[in-house]
Each structure stands twice: as structure tokens, then as C-alpha cells.
């Protein structure tokens, strides 16, 4: 951005004061954020240092480990820290990736529909509806999930026989991977649709007209020109959606299940109805134990993982958009 305009007579004393004051306000924000990163990492350190890299590995039942940590005595020397977070990390990855992949596909085609193929009256209804869906609080999605979808899956989709066959390992109650992914998809898709629609609309008309004049049909023009030009925005929408999916705690704690279980894809269809508990949901479920030192530190370790992941996400998105600049696609 060009240098902002300034008065010709040079900085006045009140200007210097204003600049300092405003600069201080802006820096407060920065200090807060830096403080957040530092403090969360510092509080999380004992859990990481005690387990080393095995913190990310698997081994043992996550829930019993958490209970042990919670029950460990008040003597600081005898704190229990053993923890292997793999089932939680795996659950987080499954739920997030599933929702983002399905959501992105859906959002892309829905956005193309809204911009190119929808009749005018339908378009005028769909756009505010999409914005509305994006603003609905996550607890409402969770409520519908837990009161409608979970009983539906539990009572109608999972047969009694299937439940009994795995009863010795895990309870299939309808709180499942499938419900979590479905509702999370519905939660993150509207934002992606809105962002992609905006991006498709700002593609210069000269490009799409030129493509039409060369004899490409309407679908090919949208796909090869508009979507291609909107790629940076699509990447941005993906990142936003992934960040939202990663950090979703409340809705997932309501529908995904309360056991830290790692579903096995080799289980076939049962894989989709096994319960999971992503990281953020685990924090919420164990929130009462935050003041108990070792459990609190373990939970802060979860938060640290979430924080670093969202940092890396933004960085990765920025990196992916750089090569696209070469061909003139605006970042």
C-alpha cells in the first residue's frame, strides 16, 4: 500500500501523541497474542517433556490415562503425565479431513451453480440463505445432531447385531464418526460457498467473454477460466474451513462420542459408526479438571497442538498461493 497521506507541514505534537497512542493500542493486540502463544506453550511444556515424542504416539487407552492423570496425588513429585494422544489426533484428522474434502467439493459445485446456472429467483433466495447458515451458532448444529441424527443413526442405522458384535470393545450408540463429519460439513460449507461465490464474481469479464468467443461452452468457461482464476480464494476458503473444523469443540463434543477411540478402517462399514473424540472436544469434556495441575497441563498441551496447527495452516496457505501469482492470478 502506498504511504498514507500526511499533512505538508510535518508532524504536529498532537499527531505524535496520536501516533504513539494508536501504536500502543495496536501493540496491545500483538502483546496479547504473543503472550497467548508463550503462556499456552509454557503451561503445556511439562506434559510434552515428560512424554517426549511418544506424546504423539499411540499406546493404551486415552481415557484411562486421563483419569490417572486426574487422580494423581497433590504431591508435585508424583504427578502422572503418561499420555499418548494418537487416538485423539487420529480422530481430529479424520473428522477434519472428511468434512473439508466433502465440504470443498460441495461448496465448489454449489458456488458454480449459484453464479452460473441458477435461475434468478433461486439465486436471490440462495445467497442470503447461505450467509445465514454461516452465522448459525455451532451449539444449534450440535443440538440438532444430538437430538435428531444421533438417535436416528443409533436406532435405525446400526443393527442390534452389529452393536453386540463390538460390545466388548466399544459401545455403538449413534454418537459416531459419520454424524460428526456430516454435521461438521454442514457447518463449514456455507462459509466456503460464500467465499468462492465472491471470488468467481470478481473474475474479470474480459476473460470469460474471451473464452466464450473462442467457442467454449458455459460449463467449460466457468471451469477452465473462472475457477482457475479463483484458485487462491478457493485455497483461502479451504484454510478457513479447516481452521474452523479443527477448532470446533462444542458441536463435536455433543455428537462425536465420549470415548477416545480410534476407528479402524478395516472394520468395514462399522468404521463409520464408531465413536471418536477429537482434540478440541476432549478439552471441553474434561474442562472441570483444568485446575488440577497435571490434567490442566495435559489439556494445555492439546491447546498448544491446536494453536501450532492453525499457525502452520495459515503459513501453508500463504506458501501455496505464491506460485499462482506467476501466471497473473491475483492472490
Amino acid at each position: 500500500m502506498a504511504r498514507p497521506a500526511s499533512p505538508a507541514t510535518g508532524p504536529h505534537r498532537s499527531d505524535k501523541r496520536a501516533e504513539l497512542l494508536l501504536g500502543a493500542l495496536a501493540s496491545v493486540v500483538l502483546v496479547l497474542i504473543a503472550g497467548m502463544v508463550v503462556f499456552v506453550l509454557a503451561k503445556a511444556w511439562p506434559s510434552f517433556s515428560h512424554n517426549g515424542l511418544a506424546w504423539f504416539g499411540s499406546g493404551g487407552n486415552v481415557d484411562t490415562q486421563l483419569i490417572d492423570i486426574f487422580n494423581s496425588p497433590a504431591n508435585p513429585d508424583k504427578y502422572e503425565y503418561t499420555f499418548h494422544a494418537w487416538p485423539l489426533l487420529y480422530a481430529t484428522a479424520l473428522v477434519t479431513l472428511g468434512a473439508v474434502i466433502v465440504g470443498l467439493t460441495f461448496a465448489l459445485f454449489a458456488a458454480i451453480f449459484i453464479v452460473e446456472f441458477a435461475p434468478n429467483r433461486l439465486r436471490a433466495v440462495l445467497e442470503p440463505v447461505v450467509r445465514l447458515l454461516a452465522a448459525v451458532p455451532s451449539v444449534i448444529y450440535g443440538l440438532i445432531g444430538i437430538l435428531v441424527l444421533v438417535p436416528f443413526v443409533g436406532n435405525h442405522l446400526i443393527s442390534q447385531g452389529r452393536k453386540e458384535s463390538v460390545a466388548y470393545v466399544v459401545q455403538l450408540s449413534g454418537n459416531s464418526l459419520a454424524v460428526a463429519v456430516v454435521i461438521l460439513t454442514v457447518m463449514i460449507t456455507p462459509i466456503m460457498i460464500a467465499l468462492i461465490v465472491d471470488a468467481l464474481r470478481t473474475v474479470p469479464r474480459s476473460w470469460t467473454e474471451g473464452a466464450h468467443a473462442l467457442g467454449a461452452n458455459r460449463w467449460r468457461v466457468v471451469w477452465t477460466i473462472a475457477v482457475r482464476a479463483a484458485r487462491p480464494a478457493i485455497v483461502g476458503a479451504c484454510v478457513l474451513a479447516t481452521a474452523r473444523a479443527l477448532g470446533e469443540a462444542i458441536m463435536l463434543s455433543m455428537v462425536s462420542g465420549s470415548v477416545g477411540f480410534a476407528p479402524n478402517p478395516l472394520d468395514g462399514l462399522t468404521f463409520f459408526v464408531e465413536p471418536v473424540r477429537p482434540l478440541a472436544a476432549t478439552i471441553v469434556d474434561n474442562a472441570e479438571g483444568l485446575s488440577v495441575k497435571p490434567l490442566g497441563q495435559t489439556l494445555y498441551a492439546f491447546a498448544a497442538v491446536l494453536l501450532i496447527s492453525s499457525l502452520f495452516l495459515s503459513l501453508g496457505a500463504w506458501l501455496v498461493r505464491q506460485p499462482m501469482k506467476r501466471y497473473g492470478v491475483r492472490p
Binding site: P7, L22, V29, V136, I140, I144, I193, L240, L290
Partner: protein, 315 residues
């Protein structure tokens, strides 16, 4: 030479200059569009149906009753008040920070490394999950030097959960929205406005105060409304930082401060607690509260849409 034929309309139907895969994709687009309509429609209709089934005026005006069987008695007046308090507090704290940072970034912005860091920092906050903000807030407000903002138990453990704590963290949710909207509004002001002001002899500070900020009022209002909407809809911070008491429990004796230092609940935590995920077992109350919450959010967004479209039409 034929006589002029009937007027040829502009849009032509799909012709056979299309490959089969092209037609498939267009069909897919239509399918997703219709699916979108169906999902949105069923969501809204279901909430409407359930909400109207259970909501009533005295639910909105009576205090909740702490009873093991929640489904019989009490309303959700306290959670409603809690939502309002948090929304107001959060935006009140976020406004000076967000507007100040936006003004500094667009009008001054020196040194450049600081400007870039502030921008990236606010983007980071926007991307941080609210659960992480929540437990950072707990960490912060459990410290001794902030004990006056909440309840201190015997044994010197700072409780750390209060309206102050929740409101402060909620401000971080509204901050990126207010910052973004204000910055967009300021950048949209053409430079000749500033130059005219300076040419009249006004200092930069006076220009900002008297000319630029009033001109960006609408952008700020939009950002504030968006922020309030997001604060009203957030649950994670409330669950962790508001102490989860059904009714507003004040701490101390001062009139307003005691409520703010105390604990309570909001519509979102009320819905959460009354669902099978929480302790209460009153799905009808949960539906009613969710309905009210949804109406508030819809009204807010509808208002923002109306406002921005009217502004666009005027421009």
C-alpha cells in the same frame, strides 16, 4: 429474403456442442444446488417447528430454577441477560482496540515490520479456535494480579471465571471483525479527502477524529454487529470461563460490578447444558432457547444485510 422472424430470446438451451462429461458436471451443479436448498430448508423449518412448539413468553421472562428436573419449571431469563451482557462487554472492549489498530495501520503504519506483525497477529487471532482462547483466558485470569476480576476462594485459589473473564476473551472474537470492517471502510475513503483536510491546515489527529472516523461509521457498525453476532453464538468460552451457574451469581456487594465479577450462563451454555450432552435433561427447554438464539442471530444478520444493501444502493 425472409421477412423478419419473431424476436429471438437471448438465452439458448444446452446444445449438442457439449461433451457428455460437461453435461454430467452441470447436472452435478444442479444437484448440489437443490441439495443445498433442501438442507437449509429442513434445518430452518425443523428449528422453527420445534421452537414454536416449546417457546413461550414466560420462558423468556422467568428466572431459571435450579432443580434436578429441569423440564418442569423455570425459564431462561438469566441466560438471556448473560448473552446480552457478554455481547455488550465483548464489543465494548474490542471497539477501541480494533478501531485503534485499524486507524494506526491505515493512517500511520510505521515501522513497517510492526504493521505487518499486527496484521498477521490479528489474522492469527481470527484463526484461533475459541476453545484455545477460552483456556488461555482461564490461565490469564487465574493469576493473582487479576483476582479482583473474579471470585477468590478460601485458600487463595483465584477462581478465574466471571463475566469479566468471558467478556475479555469474547472481545478477541469480535476484534478481527471490527478491525477488518474499519480498515476496509478507511481504505475506501479516497485520498483526496485527506489531502483536502490537510490543505485546510488540520493536523492528522484532527483529521482522523473529525473527518475519517465519522465517514467510516457505517463500516464500523457493520463490523460491530458481526462481532456481536459471533459473540452471541459462541459456546466454548462461556462453558469454560463463565462458571456455569444457571442464575447470575454476583460476587461482592457493588451493584453492577458484582454481577460482572460473578458467574452465570448464556443462551448457548443453557442449550448445551440442557441437551443430553450436559446435565439437564430438558430437550424442550433446549429447543426453546435454541430457537430464541437463532432468531436473535437471524435478526442481526438480516439487519446487517439490509443495512449494507441500502448503503450499496445509495453509493
Amino acid at each position: 429474403m425472409e421477412a423478419a422472424t419473431a424476436r429471438v430470446p437471448a438465452a439458448r438451451p444446452l446444445e449438442s456442442g457439449w461433451r457428455r462429461s460437461d453435461r454430467l458436471f452441470v447436472g452435478l451443479c444442479w444437484a448440489t444446488g437443490i441439495l443445498l436448498c433442501l438442507i437449509a430448508g429442513s434445518l430452518v423449518l425443523y428449528m422453527l417447528f420445534r421452537g414454536l412448539q416449546y417457546v413461550s413468553v414466560d420462558l423468556l421472562t422467568t428466572h431459571p430454577v435450579s432443580d434436578l428436573d429441569q423440564s418442569k419449571t423455570g425459564g431462561f431469563l438469566d441466560p438471556l441477560i448473560g448473552t446480552v451482557i457478554l455481547a455488550v462487554m465483548g464489543t465494548l472492549i474490542a471497539l477501541p482496540l480494533g478501531v485503534g489498530a485499524a486507524v494506526w495501520l491505515t493512517e500511520y503504519g510505521r515501522p513497517a515490520w510492526l504493521a505487518r506483525s499486527v496484521e498477521s497477529g490479528i489474522e492469527m487471532v481470527a484463526g484461533t479456535p475459541s476453545i484455545v482462547l477460552a483456556i488461555f483466558g482461564l490461565l490469564l485470569f487465574s493469576q493473582q494480579f487479576l483476582s479482583f476480576l473474579s471470585f477468590t476462594a478460601s485458600g487463595n485459589a483465584v477462581f478465574g471465571r466471571s463475566f469479566f473473564a468471558a467478556g475479555a476473551m469474547m472481545s478477541l472474537i469480535a476484534l478481527p471483525l471490527i478491525f477488518g470492517a474499519t480498515r476496509a471502510a478507511l481504505q475506501a475513503i479516497p485520498s483526496h479527502v485527506r489531502e483536502a483536510s490537510y490543505a485546510l491546515g488540520k493536523t492528522k489527529a484532527a483529521t482522523i477524529r473529525r473527518v475519517l472516523l465519522p465517514m467510516s461509521r457505517e463500516g464500523m457498525a457493520t463490523g460491530t454487529a458481526l462481532g456481536m453476532g459471533r459473540i452471541a453464538g459462541d459456546t466454548a468460552i462461556v462453558v469454560i470461563l463463565l462458571g456455569a451457574t444457571l442464575r447470575l451469581q454476583g460476587v461482592g456487594d457493588e451493584p453492577v460490578l458484582s454481577t460482572l465479577r460473578g458467574t452465570g450462563s448464556t443462551l448457548t451454555s443453557y442449550v448445551y447444558n440442557n441437551s443430553p450432552a450436559g446435565e439437564g435433561n430438558a430437550p424442550d427447554k433446549a429447543y426453546a432457547a435454541a430457537f430464541v438464539l437463532l432468531m436473535v442471530v437471524i435478526a442481526l444478520n438480516f439487519g446487517i444485510d439490509l443495512f449494507t444493501s441500502r448503503r450499496a444502493r445509495r453509493a
